[in-house]
Amino acid sequence: MGVLEKITSNQELRSWPGEIPLENLYTMGLAGERFFRGIKDEAKLLGTRCKTCDVTYLPPRIYCQGCFEKLVNWVDLPPQGKLETFTILNQDRAGRPYKTPRILGLVRIDRSEGALIHYIQGLEPQKIRIGMKLKAQFRSSSERKGSIQDIVGFVPA
């Protein structure tokens, strides 16, 4: 009989607890810095545009992934778009049931090729339709910190 068959619990083995003790201070980056300043200071969404490829990047990039030109053309985008897909969440990540189901959607932002995932607010699950128009609801300026959570969620436009 092999070792694997004898051991039914790894607690019976001598073991040594450990971890990889690391944290990270992530850099926003050149594009990220400007994008989140736009959200924090002006409650607006900024994209970058490649005229050659006719693409508007949201979240913005400082380069076009298609032609690899440096992008310097920043554009204001309307904080609204079309719901492209969604899911209704009944459990949190640990498997505990939500009291009220939450809706996570993918919203394609108008006048861009980009989309954001975010929570959909102010709608009963049965009222949600793919293709419906939604707009971003920002927190008040004093509450905004320069994070994607400065947007509370997307609500019907």
């Binding site: 040594w16 450990g18 990889i20 003790p21 690391l22 944290e23 990270n24 201070l25 992530y26 850099t27 926003m28 980056g29 050149l30 594009a31 990220g32 810095e33 990039r61 400082i62 380069y63 992934q65 298609g66 032609c67 690899f68 440096k70």
Partner: protein
């Protein structure tokens, strides 16, 4: 196998803390390499990314994360990682993509962003040691390298003062490198008087942690000749891994570097490296490592490298210029990018385009080498003008 050439190279500045993300650094280096070669992204058939532990960027599968900044969107893409050896291994991977006949051009990008990693990027290496016989003693890489340095010094009767000449030389060479993070004019005395971190390693014996990226473009013979009048050929490649029973070998000599070097020299037709190699860029995260690696690269006998440093043989205008770039000690050590910086240096030196760093005498052939994992991997590339 087909001949493969380097046709362009580009670097970001190496710095303590970059404002750019890893993707943005990768883009800057890749774009610079394309511009250097007079190419566009559409001319690139495939992309190789070399980048060290995911933990540095704090992103698992960071090869995928970095891909769009590396020009890999919609292309065959490979991320390679052999610790500190990565920066010279990535161009080897690019080489076999083309030598095999599968692709005609390959963009090789190496990126490292170490500044975000807290409390210190060395933390990423705390778990590379044996989990029961070593980790409970909390060793870090610096301590292990101190053991290696002492063993090397004692075996050959080399002094700390002699080794310090390497730090002085490389930091001075870096004063002429536009990407350099730690260029400075210092004396052997300064190295000796700098803080002792883990004897015999002092602060100025060690390279810094850095953010930065590097890129080179490789091409098949037919393509290379269309792209440039001055292709620099990859004449030989070699790589080798020693056991991770690292305590079961003698640390005074890097056998794995010698094996990798012999593989590369054989392919390049180099029989007497001391005569046939005109310029060397061995991996120098510590000053003693440059010497250790010169010996592994068979550029001198065992225990002889320190004398060459003291006598100025390895100075930029010496008989065998070693790390004319300024190396990791002077230019900086964004791990994978630092190795590819050495390949870039050979490219510019062999083309006669190294500016103030140009070594005299029109060098015809050079060798670059990197080292990593648990002091066990050697990666070697021989490059030349024909």
């Amino acid at each position: 196998m087909r001949k493969v050439a380097v046709v362009g190279a580009g670097l970001t500045k190496f710095m303590r803390r970059a404002q750019e993300t890893g993707k943005e650094l990768s883009f800057e280096a890749a774009r610079a390499a394309l511009d250097n070669a007079g190419m566009q992204l559409k001319d690139i058939d495939c992309v190789v990314m070399g980048t060290a532990p995911d933990a540095f960027d704090g992103v698992h599968m960071k090869g995928e994360y970095l891909s769009d900044g590396s020009g890999a969107w919609g292309r065959p893409y490979l991320r390679g990682y052999v610790g500190g050896g990565t920066g010279v291994f990535a161009p080897i991977q690019g080489w076999y993509h083309i030598a095999s006949g599968m692709f005609d051009t390959c963009l090789v990008v190496c990126e490292e962003k170490m500044s975000g990693c807290k409390p210190h990027p060395q933390g990423a290496f705390l778990t590379i040691f044996d989990h029961t016989t070593e980790r409970p003693l909390y060793p870090n890489l610096l301590w292990i390298f101190a053991l290696e340095m002492n063993r090397y010094m004692t075996t050959h009767g080399i002094t700390k003062r002699e080794i310090a000449h390497v730090a002085v030389k490389n930091k001075k060479n870096a004063m002429d490198h536009p990407s350099a993070q730690l260029p400075m004019e210092i004396t052997v005395e300064d190295v000796m008087n700098s803080e002792v971190m883990a004897w015999p390693v002092n602060r100025l014996d060690v390279s810094p942690t850095s953010d930065g990226a590097a890129a080179v473009i490789l091409a098949s013979e037919e393509k290379a000749k269309k792209i440039t009048d001055k292709p620099i050929w990859i004449q030989g490649v070699g790589w080798n891994l020693d056991t991770s029973y690292w305590t079961n070998r003698d640390l005074y000599y890097p056998e794995y570097v010698e094996r990798a070097a012999r593989m590369a020299y054989k392919m390049a037709g180099v029989k007497e490296p001391r005569k046939e190699i005109h310029i060397a860029e061995p991996y120098d995260p510590f000053d003693y490592k440059e010497l250790h690696h010169m010996e592994g690269l068979l550029l001198c006998g065992k225990g002889e490298a320190a004398r060459l440093a003291v006598d100025g043989v390895t100075a930029r205008d010496g008989d065998l210029p070693v790390c004319p770039s300024g190396g990791l000690l002077g230019v900086g050590n964004p791990i994978a990018a630092a190795g590819l910086m050495k390949i870039s240096e050979l490219f510019w030196q062999l083309r006669g385009e190294a500016g103030k760093r140009q070594v005299p005498g029109q060098p015809k052939r050079g060798v670059a080498q990197a080292w990593g994992d648990l002091m066990q991997v050697g990666t070697v590339v021989v490059m030349g003008v024909d």
